[in-house]
């Protein structure tokens, strides 16, 4: 076996570690993307019985963005098993308690409920901020592209750039801008 074939073999069957920055990303749309890497669906050698899933490290899960008014509309259901043990918690309350839970549940829900799901979830590592342990960080060799760009805040754009931006509005001659 030549060196090229050997490295190809190694590259095909090694578990790759991917990084995903969840800042300003929708967790439910990101889950569909993360799932591809966790299950190894993007690999040409994929087969349901072939254990070829990768690791995904999700950072900044505190800064996920939900669409519209979903923070207060989306409810998470839990039942203790006792009578009257049902509870519905709003997404923002869940996120306040545990900033990684929404991301975790979104990825869990995106995958089919078979025996492989629990093992795929073990390869998902979610962190609420950028503080990732060094032993995890040194494995990472790929970054997954964000679904939508992180929006710029007006007060964080340099004032020079704001002043020199082309103007659409032309005030009337005698108009005093407030």
């Amino acid at each position: 076996m030549s060196i090229i074939q050997r490295s190809q073999q190694w590259g095909t069957f090694a578990r790759i570690w991917h990084l995903y920055d969840a800042k300003w990303q929708d967790p439910y749309l990101s889950a569909e993307r993360i799932k591809m890497y966790l299950m190894g669906l993007y690999k040409p050698i994929y087969h349901p019985l072939n254990d070829c899933g990768d690791h995904v490290v999700v950072i900044n899960s505190y800064d996920i963005a939900l669409r519209g008014d979903e923070w207060r509309r989306r409810a998470y259901f839990h039942h203790t098993g006792y009578h009257g043990g049902a509870s519905w918690t709003m997404a923002w309350e869940v996120h306040k308690k545990n900033p990684t839970m929404i991301m975790n549940k979104a990825v869990y829900k995106s995958m089919k409920g078979n025996l492989q799901r629990r093992y795929s979830m073990q390869r998902l590592h979610i962190f609420k901020d950028e503080n990732v342990p060094e032993n995890i960080m040194q494995n990472i060799s790929n970054q997954i592209k964000q679904l939508r760009p992180v929006p710029l805040r007006l007060d964080e754009i340099p004032p020079q750039e704001v002043a020199e931006f082309p103007k659409l509005v032309k005030y009337p001659e005698n108009y005093i801008a407030q």
Binding site: P151, R153, P172, Y175
Partner: protein, 157 residues
């Protein structure tokens, strides 16, 4: 002490050179007009003329009959704060159509997108003085990041 010195200098200037003292004004100064003095022979013509705005070279030329936003053909999103902030007052209120010159649909669309950007906390410096400037300090669900889909805007182009 420095202020006192400045005051005495100004007062002495006002006495000796009465024409150059325009530092005192009884009403709010808007700097829209400027007093220009022109001397033709024996007659002195004093006129108030409109001052050209400083950012005139940044104005986008619109030679069509369409509104300024339609004429550019831009697909504006609620994250384009540099565009949206032009239609706002310093307290974050939308300017009227009389000033913005937008068509009815664009005016509605822009005002909805401005509301979206404000809810997402993208323009915290254009807000009423009583507001919390940092979106992370807001109450309850409002402190978390939110994004919007422009397809949900009722007014379509």
């Amino acid at each position: 002490m420095a202020a006192l010195c400045r005051l005495t200098v100004q007062a002495s200037k006002a006495i000796f050179f009465p024409q150059s003292s325009r530092n005192v004004s009884l009403s709010a100064v808007s700097r829209l007009k400027e007093i220009r003095e022109k001397k033709e022979g024996n007659t002195l013509i004093i006129s108030g003329e409109f001052v050209k705005p400083k950012d005139e070279h940044l104005q986008i030329k619109n030679n069509t009959t369409a509104c300024p936003l339609c004429a550019t053909g831009l697909d504006v999103k609620h994250t384009d704060v540099l565009i949206l902030s032009q239609f706002l007052r310093s307290d974050g209120c939308m300017l009227p159509r009389r000033i913005t010159n937008l068509c009815k649909v664009q005016q509605k669309r822009v005002s909805v997108m401005v509301a979206m950007a404000q809810k997402a906390g993208l323009m915290p410096n254009l807000n009423p003085p009583s507001s919390k400037k940092d979106p992370k300090r807001r109450y309850g669900y409002k402190k978390y990041n939110t994004y919007f889909d422009e397809a949900t805007i009722q007014w379509k182009l």
